[in-house]
Amino acid sequence: MRPVYQVRDLAVVKDGRALISEIQLELFAGELVVILGPNGAGKSTLLRALAGIETVSAGEVLLGGKSITKIGRREMARQVAMVEPMLDLPFGYSVEQVVMMGRAPHMDAWFEGTEDWAQVDGALAVMDCQPLRKRDYRNLSSGEKQRVLVASALAQQPCVLLLDESAAFLDVRHQMELFEALKRLTAQGYLIVAVTHDWNLAAAWASRIILLKNGRVAAAGPPAELSNEALLLEVFGVPLEVMAVEGRPPVVLQPGATRR
């Protein structure tokens, strides 16, 4: 199978500092890839480079075999949808309008068509946002906003979904529902790449974890392979305890461990 994304020798340098370097990746349709790593490891930079909104200093990112620098913005938006961590709006757009903006790369007519409404309805349903649809986006809670942003990305009908900390503001039920929904999308052939800090979400749902440290890939593989205490200590700098529950390896925080 041909990879959706091929990343070759990718580096992003800003102000003389390499945010990411020597990144080699192949990402396939149907995968739920989670990028993990300490603050400043380059997780968001890598995600933004995949979205084509980061200036790449070296190497290249291929989407469907084509360099993303050669893909127009509109065509890119039809294939790849990016959900940014948190977004505030200056004006009172309704939830429905925010989700409808996801149709922008498909819409040429002045008014929304039936297909646009169908996609918006579908995206709202997937993210459990239908009761919110007429609400002013600015008055939503952080978690509700995040779900609306994911719905707007889904309305783009992409084949790749990039999520930056999308679970961070969600309550535990919606975190789980988000990842369940993402898992269902991968079954439909989506490639999903998510940045998160939550090892347990990753361990439960990811098909592959990419561990970044200092802008380089420290390790990559299925959760079970990476859940070893020596590796986690090396990447995160604190001792973490790995336990197996029903065959999956949750990670338990140890209070006091940072005060070594």
């Binding site: 938006a77 200056p90 002045w110």
Partner: protein, 327 residues
């Protein structure tokens, strides 16, 4: 969609009503049966004084309100208008320079116009440069920059006024009063050649402003070529604010009240907000001018006085109500 057409239809009706009613209002009572009699005093007052003045108010108000909507979207701030950003002052300074160096009397409108457009464009480029270099510049920074640019422009205008000849100094004073006067139909035609295409382009690109109002990163993620859209927006905004200011002089706050009120009433979707702001911004300025020339008749208040007296308190109200939301 039916709501869309009814709101737009109502706005069209309101601006047509303004066009029909405002010329009937004025300090001299007119016998309207005589306005179609050629050569009569009534016909002269109606066709040469009042109608062009109302048309100018409609055009100027529409241009300033739609420029306001645009700047508010691009700066993501409800208080951004041609005057709060200093763009109007830039246009004024350009015009004053033109008057001062005599470019305005020789080529009549050409010099004044070019200088105004240049002034508006340069100031807008400065403001855009300030707001994009650091990326997340707060609206207060932007407004402070606008105030600073305003004072600098005023200082240069005062300087020019004090060193120029008495005649030109008077011309500058009169021009700076700001207001809609009876102008020749040729001037109106020329102004529409600038204003109408710019307004049409803005309305046509409404979806772009919707995306950009959320943010540049967002618009780009939704497939918009943000650079070319922004460039187009800034060019159209400078043309609207600059070409109007060249004719009317500075009219404060005309781009603030109508867009803000409409956004509260009909929502922020630019497909509806832009055309209605253009129509009702024009009607608003025509009505303000009708008030200005009647309340203290036979004395006339420049329309800029009315809009500033209404717009100033409105601005403060928006500013304080927003501050409480943020806390």
């Amino acid at each position: 969609m039916s709501r869309y057409w009814s709101v737009l239809g109502a706005s069209i009706l309101i601006s047509i009503a303004a066009l029909l009613i405002c010329p009937l209002i004025g300090p001299t009572p007119l016998d309207f049966s005589k306005i179609f009699t050629e050569g009569s005093l009534e016909a002269q007052i109606f066709w040469l004084a009042r109608l062009p003045r109302v048309l100018l108010a409609l055009l100027a108000g529409g241009a300033l309100a739609s420029a306001g909507v645009l700047f508010q979207a691009l700066m993501r701030d409800a208080l951004a208008t041609p005057d709060t950003l200093g763009v109007s002052s830039g246009a004024s300074l350009g015009a004053v320079v033109a008057i001062c160096f005599g470019w305005a009397d020789s080529a009549r409108l050409g010099g004044l116009w070019t200088a105004s457009l240049l002034g508006a464009g340069i100031v807008l480029m400065i403001v855009v440069g300030l707001s994009s270099s650091g990326r997340n510049v707060s609206s207060f920074t932007l407004l402070l920059a606008g105030i600073t640019i305003n004072s600098m422009c005023v200082a240069i205008m005062l300087f020019l006024q004090s060193v120029t000849s008495l005649g030109r100094s008077l011309a500058i004073t009169r021009w700076l009063m700001g207001g809609v006067d009876a102008v020749e139909y040729r001037t109106l035609g020329l102004l529409s050649l600038f204003v109408l295409p710019a307004a049409v382009v803005l309305i046509w690109r409404s979806q772009h402003w919707n995306l950009l109002a959320v943010g540049e990163g967002w618009a780009s993620a939704k497939g918009l070529d943000t650079r070319s859209s922004l460039r187009l927006g800034y060019a159209a905004g400078s043309i609207l604010a600059g070409s109007v200011t060249a004719i009317t002089g500075p009219i404060g706050f005309a781009g603030l009240i109508v867009p803000h009120a409409l956004r509260m009433l009909i929502g922020p979707d630019h497909r509806l907000l832009l055309p209605t702001s253009f129509l009702l911004g024009g009607a608003f300025l025509a009505v303000c001018d009708a008030i200005g020339r009647t309340v203290f008749a036979p004395a006339e208040l420049p329309v800029g006085v009315i809009t500033a007296l209404l717009g100033g308190p409105f601005f403060l109200w928006v500013l304080t109500s927003r501050a409480t939301i943020k806390n």
